[in-house]
Structures are given as structure tokens and as C-alpha cells.
């Protein structure tokens, strides 16, 4: 694929440019062109959530998004969340509640949890479970992840 499209977007707060083939996924762009490997490939078809990113504040599966669609948008990945101390509470909750085992699902879980808390700052147990329905985890059995999100929400104004 020789043809590429020049796009500009904000990546984790910084203006970014990339030349991407039109058929490329946002996931492949982030991992292979930009070199941010925190966002994971788990299935490539929207079923696992390992590739979750925020686009203009909405959580989406980056494996289903065309990279060219990033043009003009604000993209946030797990690395971007980690760089902002405002998200330490969420990350610490995952660590302290045991929400991380092999860790492969964790970036997607964290990004999705961030979105979930932006929608529901005081989520019910049920809202957390439903909010994570698009993120698979094979290790934890989800319980500690759900507890981590609940803990992160505690004390949020």
C-alpha cells in the first residue's frame, strides 16, 4: 500500500502527525507507526476491548476504527492516562484491589473504566459490570476489577 493520507490529531495532549494508509486501523497506527504499545491487540474484531482508546472523550475499539478517522480528533491512550496525575486514583485502585494479573487486558480496562467514571462518577455495581461488558479478562474473574472501579469512584466529588 503505497498511498498514504496525512493526518493531524492530538495524541495524549500533544499535536501529532502521521502518514497512514487508508485501510489501516487506529490500533495498528498507534502500535506500529506511533510506537505506543500500551494499547493491545486481543482480537481485532471489537470483541475483547484490549484496544480501547478514548476519541474526543468517547471510548471506542481502536481495532475497528480507521486510522484516518483520527484526523482532527483528540486521542487518549493508556499511556496518556498514566501521564496525568488526575488518573492516579484509578490506577492505584487497580493495583491495590488486585485488578491486575497478567495485565494484558489492563490497559483496555483502565481506559474503559476512565470512560465509565466520566459517564457515571458514582456508578452502581450493575453499572460497572455493564460498563465493562466489552472488555474480556481471562485471569481475574473480573471481581477485583469491578471492586477497583468502585474504589476509584469512592471519594470522587
Amino acid at each position: 500500500m503505497s498511498l498514504t493520507v496525512e493526518i493531524r490529531f492530538t495524541l495524549n495532549g500533544s499535536p501529532t502527525r502521521a502518514a497512514v494508509p487508508p485501510g489501516l486501523t487506529a490500533l495498528a497506527m498507534l502500535r506500529d507507526i506511533v510506537g505506543l504499545t500500551g494499547t493491545k491487540y486481543g482480537c481485532g474484531e471489537g470483541e475483547c476491548g484490549a484496544c480501547t482508546i478514548l476519541v474526543d472523550g468517547l471510548s471506542v475499539n481502536s481495532c475497528l476504527m480507521f486510522a484516518v478517522e483520527c484526523d482532527g480528533r483528540a486521542i487518549t491512550t493508556v499511556e496518556g492516562l498514566a501521564a496525568d496525575p488526575a488518573n492516579d486514583r484509578l490506577r492505584d485502585a487497580f493495583v491495590e484491589e488486585g485488578g491486575v494479573q497478567c495485565g494484558f487486558c489492563t490497559p483496555g480496562m483502565i481506559v474503559q473504566s476512565k470512560y465509565l467514571l466520566s459517564q457515571h462518577p458514582h456508578p452502581s455495581h450493575e453499572q460497572i459490570r455493564r460498563g465493562l461488558e466489552g472488555n474480556l479478562c481471562r485471569c481475574t474473574g473480573y471481581k477485583k476489577i469491578i471492586e477497583a472501579v468502585a474504589k476509584a469512584a469512592e471519594g470522587t466529588p
Binding site: E45, R130, I146
Partner: protein, 770 residues
């Protein structure tokens, strides 16, 4: 006087040491590593189930710009992989399963590699398909492996007592046929490897997710015909293991052959579809079980005949009888036991090892029979189990020795916490009431190795421990970390010996060039074996430190102790000197010594003899799990509401890590019973993706009530046992028993998908199904 208080990390909730990096997206898994100049490797897999390869034409692929190597069987040594050495990395004569590897390409980009695969022309001559293992040993069945014309890959026979005698003594006998389906590991990180071969030095560096690096070194050297000393295996953090990385699989040597041929590093990572098609499954099984008991519930005998579908090649799946037979012979006291297993070749996918290693299958059958016997005898499920349950001090018919054994406590704890007796009776009475929602409760129990498993010549693990001048400890352990949290537990155990805080210890566990030998992460052995090994190394360091301190202080070593980073007086905790000061005084004096120790731990277990007799593990884990469910009789949907689990873990080391293992295992067991089904029809896999292969998701998990029984194992590290596999084992059996309690219908075929359950319910009511 400065007193240093005693503190202990044992039993606390300790976050995993590697969690902060993982949660920041910084951890680099094998998928995330890229070497300079690396090529992308891709494998051409057959779309035939059974066919002779007439010709493979790779000319066009080789001519494609950007392609550096194209290999077929003709280009590599003829050596088979796996338990029976029957699985050549690239197939040359014929293909036996849908996943079979026939050619491989290394190219500059993934796109070019995929383009090259399309250019390879393979001509086949189809052969008759053998898709039903019951046909494998019938006369005239197609032969799958020429070296095994009878299609029998492996057999296992075990017996104690005399089942004919047992039959005579029985007041009731039950017999059933059970079918256990295909499921697969679904590690969230797909399989991958990077092979870097330097032709001048002959050094091979592998970035690999193997769970058994030291066994792999040896296997690789055999397959590749190279000096094992030149092979270095680096293990990046792994996106889940669960047994899937216990064998060497074709993609691994293929990556090496590609790297050799291209003289560049080659990275080969699966797609999710490939992961479904081409990684091992859990062993499917067809079991015929016959069990008997006396009027009072005493078990009299058990006779079991098992057919294992070995698929086209032999990996660890064929060897699960090692573990299965323990459950048949020794979960309960059974005076007479006869066990026969046959693994037969077919054109289906092949099975590897998978968390629980045959025990989910065995427990599914045995624990349903316990309920069936109880029903016939008018006993309740708990009573019949208590009557026959093992206790400490027991030596079983198979020669297993039970030292610490909290089995009965597991049973009574789970039963009382779930209000089992009352609910079991209530739900049974409500079966015939109107309404489409039926509730049920079911119990199942298990035994599993908890102190390693002596299958290889050694079941040991080595540790190297070094201390720096500031009191920081680095332990180098042979035991890999696969996400289960062993690293944190090992650090805790070392802290406990040396009186240090957790952040004073780092663990190195990922490079065969650095770490000492270990047999591998399997059989729930890491906490027990690697833990004891780490404790051994720490004790040696402590001896050295306390002896040195004794000399300086004119006390004896046994009057001293290590606490909170200090050497203290044992009697009252009075601070004697800071540990770093002592270490520096050893290092920078005329003694010129560093604190560095090594330890190799080999458990007390023995190898089984040819008749499978012997105490294969240093200790055993026990558990009872109770599942409460609701069956919607209009749809067949079974909802798992609550799981009450009681596990004999020896001792709780890291409460949070332990809970995480149990919860994850329970949900994996839930998937096995209810949602997961790798549909194999005529050798083809119909659902190689998460859309139709359904893992349990967050909204579906049950309420979980988990209790730990601390039986304080005498040989375990701080009394602990291994429990990594235990929690998944009972689930399918407990759910089957619960469905029976809810509906009166006994399901002996997995999975309990809505349609399967609905069919069974309709059939039981005398309805017609199509």
C-alpha cells in the same frame, strides 16, 4: 533502647509487584518488542482436514520483493515435536488437522508476508477424514500417523483392589457415560516469539512466552540440532498461560528456522483466529464410569473407561490420565479401582495441557456419581462425601500420602456458609411447582497436586540470592511468572526470612542466562517449590549475616534475629546494628565477602512406578465448591448466581493474590460449564473468534464467597500449598449437580449451553426434539 517490632507479610493483602507498570501500559509483552532489522514471520496453514501433499510451489512467493525466506518441510530437518515426537514443525508428506503448518515466510512487513503466503501453491490429494474418535480403532479406519497403524497414541492402565469383588459388595451401582467437549485457553495475549540467530557466534536468543524455559532449551537443541549452551531464552511478561505454553509447538522452531535462513531476527505473532485454530485445546474426553456403594454410603468400587481424542498429533493432552486417575483412585477412599484410558489419533485439533490437567474432566464424572449414589441411597450429597472423604494420615490405594488434609473442613465450611442442606431440600421440593424459573444448588469437591508433581527426572527449582551494600536483595529464580503473582509471593517469603520490607526485594525470573534451573510453571507448583527454594537461599543468607553479626557483637548467632532491616537481639528486639552497615562491614573489610547464596530445592515426592503407584506430590490441595443456579426452563439458560468455595491452601501467603487465583479459576470453570465451546465438526473449527466462542464477561460473574482452610502443610513454604489450578476444577460438576437439583434432569454432556439444556429438559418431559 531502640526496639524493632516484629512484622510479617504473611497472610496480608499484597499488591502484585509488577502491577503499577502494567496499569500504566508500560509493560512490554512479546507482542510489543521489536528488534532492529526484524522481519515478520507468517505461517501458511492448510485448509484441509486430511490430505496428502502432492506438491508445494513457492517460486512466486520467493520472487516477491521484500521476502527474505520461504521454507517448507524440504528445507528443515525431519524431526517431530511433542510427547510422541509425531509433529514435524512443517508438514511435508500429508496434513492431518485443519491447522497444519505447510510453509512459512519471513518478509519485511506483515503485508508482504501475507501476500507471499497467497502466492504459495499447494496441490493436495484428499484422504478420508477420521473425525470421530470412536471410529479410530475400528477396522478400516484411516491411519493418521504411519508410525502408529492402530491409531492408538497412548494408553494408561491403573488398578488397585479387585473391582469384581467391589461389585459384589455393592448395594447400589450407577453407571453413566460422560462427554467433555473442546475448550481452549484464550490467553488475552496471543502466542508469539522472536528468534534472533547470529550465524557467526551460533548464538540463538529467543523471546518466548514458554512456561518451561529450561525444558525448552533442551527440546530446542534437539529439534534444531544445536548446542543447548548457545540457546538463551528471554521471557518477556506473558499475557496469560494456563498451561498453553507447556509444550513446544511448531511456530517456535519455524521462527528459528526462518531467522536462520534470513539471517535476520524474525518475529512471529498469531492473529486471534490463528490462536483459536492453532493453539492447543483442553483434552476432550468420553468417559464411561461405573461406581458402587453400600447402603450406608461407603464406596465399594469405581471402574472407568476413557477414550481421549488425541487429534492428529500428540501433545500433553494425551497424558492427562496421570492426573485423572488420582481423582478416581484417591479423592475418596475407594477400596477397588480400575482405570483404563486410550488416546486415539483422529483428524481433529490436538489438546495440550490446560489448568487442571484432566482433573476438570475426572471431577465432572466422579462428583456427579457421588450425587447419583447418594440419591439412590437416600443420603444427602454432603453426608456421602463426608462418609468417604480422605483425612490426614491416609495412604491411598495409589500410594498417595496425605499429610495435611483439610478436605472435611472444606466440605463442612462450604456447606454451612451456603446453607446447602436446607436449600438442597427446598429446591428439590420446588421442582414440580409451576413457573419457568427453577433454582438449584450443587456441591462438588476435588483433590489436586499441591506440592509439585514428580513427572520429570527432577521436580526442583534453583534460587540465587544476592544482597547489595544497602540491604537490597535480588533473587534469581528459575520459576517463571505468568501473571499468577509468584514473583510477589517469592519476595514475601524471602522478606519473612530476612525481616525485610517488600520493597527491599527484587525478583529476576526471565532469562535462562541468569536464572538457575526450574522444571517449569505447571502443576500449581511454583509457590510450593520455588517458594521453598527461595526460603532455602534466604536462610543461608541469614545464617551468614547472623554469624557475622555474632562476631561483631560478642553474641551467638542464635541470640540474634533480623527484623525491619536491622540485626536485633532475639530476646527483646533491641537493635544491634542496621543491616546495611553489617553488609558493608563484611564487604569492605579484610573479610571481603558479599552475601550471595544459592539453593536448589527438590520436593520429597517420588516418581510413580510403572503401575502409577507412588506419592507423586509432596502435598495435595483440597476444595469444595457449591454452586447456586437458576434454570430458565423456557430457554435452557442457566444463570450462575453464587459460588461458595472452601479451599485447603495450607496457609494463606498473599490473601489478595490467592483470592485473585480462586476468583479467576471459578470464572474459568463457569465458562467451561456454561459458555465456552470450541465447535469442532468434521475436523473443522466453526467458531475461531470471540464472537461465537464465548468467554464469561463481567456482567455474568456470580457472587463469590471464598474461604481458606489453613491446614499448615509441614513441608510447604510457611505451611502453604499450591492452588493455581484448584478453583476451576469443581465448577462443571457442581453446576451439573445444581441443575439436577433444580430440574431433576441429569446432564452428562458438556457444555450446558442453553440449547443443550433445553433439549435435555424437553426430552426428560417426554417431548420431541429435532
Amino acid at each position: 533502647m531502640t526496639v524493632v517490632a516484629k512484622s510479617s507479610l504473611i497472610g496480608k493483602r499484597i499488591p502484585k509487584m509488577d502491577a503499577p507498570e502494567k496499569a500504566a501500559g508500560k509493560t512490554r509483552y512479546v507482542q510489543d518488542i521489536n528488534l532492529p532489522g526484524q522481519l515478520i514471520g507468517k505461517i501458511l496453514r492448510t485448509d484441509r482436514v486430511h490430505a496428502r501433499i502432492v506438491s508445494i510451489d513457492t517460486a512466486a512467493a520467493k520472487a516477491l520483493p521484500g521476502v527474505y525466506a520461504v521454507l517448507t518441510a524440504a528445507d528443515i530437518p525431519k524431526r517431530g515435536l511433542g510427547v510422541n515426537k509425531d509433529n514435524p514443525p512443517l508438514k511435508g508428506d500429508k496434513v492431518r488437522t485443519i491447522r497444519d503448518e505447510i510453509a512459512a515466510v519471513a518478509a519485511e512487513t506483515e503485508e508482504i508476508a501475507l501476500e507471499a503466503l497467497k502466492l504459495i501453491k499447494v496441490v493436495y490429494e484428499d484422504l478420508p477424514i477420521l473425525a470421530d474418535p470412536r471410529q479410530s480403532t475400528q477396522p478400516g479406519a484411516p491411519v493418521i500417523q504411519d508410525a502408529k497403524p492402530d491409531n492408538i497414541a497412548m494408553t494408561f492402565d491403573y488398578a488397585h483392589g479387585d473391582v469384581a469383588q467391589g461389585e459384589k459388595e455393592s448395594d447400589v451401582v450407577v453407571e453413566s457415560e460422560f462427554y467433555l467437549h473442546y475448550v481452549t485457553h484464550c490467553c488475552m495475549g496471543v502466542s508469539g516469539i522472536i528468534a534472533d540467530f547470529e550465524p557467526t557466534s551460533g548464538n540463538l536468543t529467543l523471546y518466548s512466552n514458554t512456561q518451561v524455559p529450561f525444558l525448552h532449551k533442551r527440546e530446542f537443541s534437539e529439534v534444531l540440532g544445536m548446542d543447548p549452551g548457545r540457546i538463551r531464552i528471554i521471557q518477556p511478561p506473558i499475557g496469560g498461560g494456563f498451561g498453553s505454553k507447556l509444550d513446544i509447538y511448531p511456530f517456535e522452531p519455524i521462527a528459528v528456522y526462518l531467522a536462520k535462513a534470513a539471517r535476520r531476527p524474525v518475529k512471529l505473532v498469531f492473529t486471534r483466529e490463528e490462536e483459536f485454530l492453532a493453539s492447543p485445546t483442553r483434552q476432550p474426553a468420553l468417559c464411561r464410569l461405573r461406581s458402587g456403594a453400600k447402603k450406608d454410603g461407603t464406596l465399594t468400587f469405581r471402574a472407568v473407561d476413557i477414550l481421549l481424542d488425541n487429534g492428529g498429533y500428540t501433545s500433553w493432552g494425551a497424558t492427562i490420565p496421570f492426573v485423572m486417575m488420582q481423582t478416581f483412585s484417591s479423592l475418596y477412599r475407594v477400596p477397588h479401582c480400575l482405570f483404563h484410558t486410550k488416546a486415539v489419533y483422529s483428524n481433529n485439533p490436538y489438546a495440550g495441557s490446560f489448568r487442571g490437567y484432566g482433573n476438570l474432566q475426572a471431577t465432572f464424572t466422579v462428583e456427579q456419581h457421588m450425587d447419583m449414589l447418594a440419591e439412590k441411597l437416600g443420603l444427602d450429597p454432603l453426608a456421602i462425601r463426608m462418609k468417604n472423604a480422605q483425612e490426614s494420615g491416609e495412604v491411598t490405594g495409589q500410594g498417595m500420602v496425605f499429610t495435611s488434609c483439610g478436605f472435611k473442613e472444606c466440605l463442612t465450611t462450604a456447606a454451612s456458609r451456603s446453607d446447602f442442606a436446607r436449600k438442597f431440600t427446598d429446591y428439590a421440593q420446588q421442582q414440580s411447582k409451576p413457573g419457568n424459573k427453577k433454582r438449584g444448588i450443587g456441591l462438588a469437591a476435588m483433590i489436586h497436586v499441591g506440592g509439585g508433581a514428580k513427572i520429570y527426572p527432577s521436580d526442583g527449582c534453583g534460587t540465587i540470592l544476592k544482597m547489595d551494600d544497602f540491604g537490597h536483595v535480588t533473587i534469581m529464580t528459575g520459576a517463571s511468572e505468568i501473571g499468577q503473582g509468584s514473583e510477589t509471593v517469592l519476595a514475601q517469603l524471602v522478606c519473612e526470612e530476612l525481616g525485610l520490607p517488600l520493597d527491599a526485594v527484587s525478583v529476576v525470573n526471565n532469562d535462562t542466562e541468569v536464572t538457575p534451573w526450574d522444571v517449569g510453571v505447571h502443576a500449581s507448583r511454583t509457590t510450593f517449590i520455588a517458594g521453598n527454594s527461595a526460603i532455602g537461599a534466604a536462610r543461608k543468607a541469614k545464617d551468614k549475616i547472623l554469624n557475622a553479626a555474632a562476631k561483631v557483637t560478642n553474641m551467638t548467632a542464635d541470640q540474634l534475629e533480623m527484623r525491619g532491616g536491622f540485626v536485633v537481639r532475639a530476646a527483646d528486639g533491641e537493635m544491634v546494628m542496621p543491616l546495611p552497615k553489617l553488609l558493608r562491614s563484611l564487604h569492605f573489610s579484610d573479610k571481603a565477602e558479599l552475601v550471595m547464596t544459592t539453593h536448589y530445592y527438590e520436593p520429597s515426592s517420588v516418581h510413580q512406578d510403572k503401575k502409577f503407584m507412588g506419592n507423586v506430590s509432596a502435598t495435595y490441595a483440597w476444595a469444595a465448591q457449591i454452586c447456586e443456579i437458576e434454570v430458565d426452563t423456557d430457554t435452557g439458560i442457566v444463570t450462575l448466581e453464587k459460588v461458595t468455595a472452601a479451599h485447603d491452601v495450607g496457609r494463606v501467603l498473599n490473601r489478595m493474590g490467592l483470592e485473585g487465583q480462586i476468583e479467576g479459576g471459578i470464572v474459568m470453570g463457569q465458562g467451561y460449564a456454561l459458555t465456552e465451546d470450541l465447535m469442532v465438526r468434521q475436523g473443522k473449527v466453526l467458531n475461531p473468534g470471540f464472537r461465537d466462542y464465548k468467554l464469561v464477561t463481567a456482567p455474568e460473574i456470580p457472587e463469590m464467597d471464598i474461604s481458606f482452610i489453613e491446614s499448615m502443610d509441614g513441608e510447604g513454604p510457611q505451611g502453604a500449598k499450591g492452588v493455581g489450578e484448584a478453583p476451576a476444577i469443581c465448577m462443571a460438576a457442581a453446576i451439573a449437580n445444581a441443575i439436577h437439583n433444580a430440574t431433576g434432569v441429569r446432564l452428562t454432556r458438556l457444555p450446558f449451553s442453553p440449547e443443550n439444556v433445553y433439549r435435555a429438559l424437553v426430552t426428560a418431559k417426554g417431548g420431541v426434539v429435532e
